[in-house]
């Protein structure tokens, strides 16, 4: 009896030692990978920061109005945001590779799924950012053009353009990460369709006099009665 217990303990001890002997090198490898990852991520961050400083991305972001949104959200400058994002994405990638080296069976599948999702998330963020910049730029251009040409309701026009571009960017980003793909497409189609239909109704029924005036001004002889300002040059 005593012999059996001792043999069991010896076997358990042997297994434990064997496990540690197998696990410790993997742990060491993981730590090395994470450490190298930290250095690589830091180097990439510094390189990207320098490149973005040279390309004056912050000025571009300021001009496009994106920096204002970043400040409102208490976020750092565009250059800092992108370089920090690259740092974390890179290091996270290395950490996940390191964890996979440990060989923990349950984690393997989750990690590979997360790996597959990472580029999609990155692309989705990029789409949102580009959508934000495009919406700001285009809506402001439309506002200025409408105000300077003396068109009625320039803010409505500007906000409509902003809304359409935002809706498009958000639905594209959600589709990219695969969140309720069918629902997003259906929701976007409904919202966009309803918006356009509403605009058509509003212009056709609510503003039929305005529409008539607009068409007459642009398509008939009345065009010649356009207001002319004094010759500037």
């Amino acid at each position: 009896m005593k012999e059996v217990v001792l043999q069991g303990l010896r076997q358990a001890y042997g297994n434990l030692v064997h496990m540690f002997a197998e696990f410790l090198p993997r742990m060491l490898v993981m730590l090395v990978i994470v450490g190298i990852g930290l250095l690589v991520a830091y180097a990439l961050k510094m390189i990207l920061r320098a490149v973005l400083h040279v390309t004056r991305l912050d000025r571009l972001s300021e001009e496009a109005g994106a920096s204002r949104f970043l400040r409102m959200a208490a976020l750092p400058s565009m250059t800092e945001l992108l370089s920090r994002s690259l740092f974390w994405v890179t290091w996270l990638g290395f950490i996940l590779i390191g964890i996979s080296v440990l060989g923990v069976a349950g984690l393997q599948e989750q990690i590979s799924r997360l790996f597959l999702l990472l580029p999609a998330i990155f692309v989705a963020i990029l789409i949102l950012f580009l959508g934000l910049v495009t919406a700001n730029f285009t809506s402001r251009a439309a506002l200025l053009a409408a105000v300077n040409a003396g068109y009625p309701s320039p803010k409505l026009l500007s906000w409509s353009i902003r809304f359409v571009i935002w809706a498009l960017a958000v639905s594209m980003a959600l589709e990219q990460v695969g969140v309720a793909r069918q629902t997003v497409i259906a929701a976007f189609s409904i919202v966009f369709g309803a918006f356009m239909f509403g605009m058509a109704l509003a212009f056709g029924l609510g503003g039929k006099d305005l529409a008539r005036e607009f068409l007459e001004r642009n398509l008939t002889e009345k065009k010649k009665e356009k207001f002319h300002e004094p010759q500037p040059l």
């Binding site: 001009e63 105000v147 300077n148 300002e229």
Partner: protein, 423 residues
């Protein structure tokens, strides 16, 4: 030869067949079939009458006209010696035509002209526009002569203006350019001007031809380049310039984008030239330095005021990001005032423009958008001007213009302060 990289082979071949010249007249064109013949006639007559012994070339640079502009230029050279009588040039007047692009651009056209001037070692050059309805032979001679005979490097035109013509130039471009760059050139933005071969070579060396500001309106940049290089600038009184028919030519928005946008860009790229300069100096002027005629009907200003008032309201967030709080508040206050008593004071106008220039420098928003945001405010100033000067004499208007210029000069330290302030 830097120009080899962008000049077409056929164009180069034509230039080489000409050899060296003394005078070069560039005619940028785009769909000018109806007026080009008259322009050519004036240029040739001018050369025959005034530069009998000089070697000359007339260069047409076309922006891809869809009409018969280029054919007219080429065909008219075939019958050029048949029509004229009297004094004849002792030299052949060469003609060259080239097409530079499929879209018109004053800057690209000028680049071809200065490259040709550099290659042909032209001593004096002039650019004239076929769109100018009343271009006379004397205009061409008066743009070339100060360069060729007096040694000037840039010659701007001076015109007789009707009281309500060229207000953007009189109320904005002339005062601000005079205060900033210190040269009293009245028509910095014009369709005709003269320049030396020396200035052409300097301009050709500059790596700015791809810039939108230069592509749209290169003439002011050329004058500023000349002044910056210590070359001599001047202006020549040409006479009355006929007003373009209403609805033709650039509208106020396009004119401001092209000229004010270009001027702010010139400020940005020539900071060292103007930051420490104070006061202004007159330039060599041939003939009277201004002349206003009393003809011209004052335009109805009501619509202009409506556009100003709605613009100030609709663009409030944009103006808030460009102007200081105090200036913005003053503009909002006058926008609410009674239209009959409305006044956009010169002091406020100067402050507004200087804050726009500084915001352009700090790129607080897209620069083209920033320049467009100035349009409603210019309309406010225009309305105020029309209201105040409906029955004013030409002398009184000129006196007011001079006061505005002096205000711009007096307030220049404010521009420098805003310009150098940390954004």
């Amino acid at each position: 030869m830097a120009e080899e990289s962008f000049l077409a082979d056929e164009f180069l071949r034509q230039l080489m067949s000409v050899g060296e010249v003394d005078l070069l007249i560039g005619i940028p064109s785009y769909n000018n079939a109806t007026t080009l013949g008259q322009t050519l006639q004036s240029v040739e007559e001018s050369l025959r009458q005034n530069f009998v012994r000089e070697r000359a070339v007339i260069l047409n640079v076309d922006g891809g006209s869809a009409d018969e502009t280029r054919q007219i230029f080429v065909q008219s050279s075939d019958r050029r010696d048949v029509a004229h009588k009297g004094l004849t040039s002792l030299r052949t007047i060469h003609r060259i035509s080239c097409e530079y692009d499929r879209s018109p651009s004053q800057g690209i056209a000028l680049r071809n002209v200065v490259a040709a001037a550099d290659l042909l070692r032209a001593k004096a050059c002039a650019v004239v526009s076929p769109a100018t309805a009343n271009l006379t032979p004397s205009w061409v001679a008066n743009l070339l002569r100060p360069v060729y005979r007096e040694g000037l490097d840039f010659v701007a035109p001076l015109y007789v203006r009707s009281r309500f013509q060229g207000l953007l130039a009189r109320d904005l471009l002339y005062p601000v350019s005079r205060a900033v760059f210190g040269q009293r050139i009245r028509e910095l933005y014009s369709d005709e001007w003269g320049f030396s071969g020396r200035l052409a070579s300097r301009c050709l060396e500059k790596d700015v031809w791809h810039e939108d500001a230069v592509r749209a309106r290169p003439e002011a940049w050329m004058a500023i380049t000349a002044a910056g290089a210590g070359l001599r600038c001047g202006q020549y009184f040409l006479g009355p310039k006929s007003a373009a028919p209403p609805g033709t030519g650039p509208d106020i928005v396009e004119a401001i984008r092209q000229t004010v946008g270009n001027f702010f860009w010139c400020m940005e790229t020539n900071q060292a030239q103007w930051m420490t300069r104070s006061n202004s100096q007159p330039v060599a002027t041939f003939g009277p330095d201004h002349e206003l005629s009393l003809d011209g009907i004052p335009p109805s200003p009501e619509k202009i005021f409506d556009l100003f008032r709605s613009g100030v309201g609709e663009l409030e967030p944009i103006l808030a990001s460009i102007l200081t709080q105090d200036t913005h508040a003053q503009i909002k206050a006058i926008a609410l005032s009674d239209r009959a008593k409305f006044r956009f004071a010169p002091e406020l106008w100067v402050t507004t423009l200087y804050e726009f220039a500084a915001s352009y420098h700090h790129a607080v928003l897209n620069r083209d958008h920033l320049v467009q945001a100035l349009v409603p405010l210019y309309r406010g100033r225009l309305y105020s001007f029309l209201l105040e000067n409906a029955n004013t004499s030409a002398e009184a208007m000129e006196a007011q213009s001079e006061i505005l210029c002096q205000e711009f000069e007096r307030r220049k330290p404010y521009l420098v302060e805003r310009w150098t302030a940390k954004s």
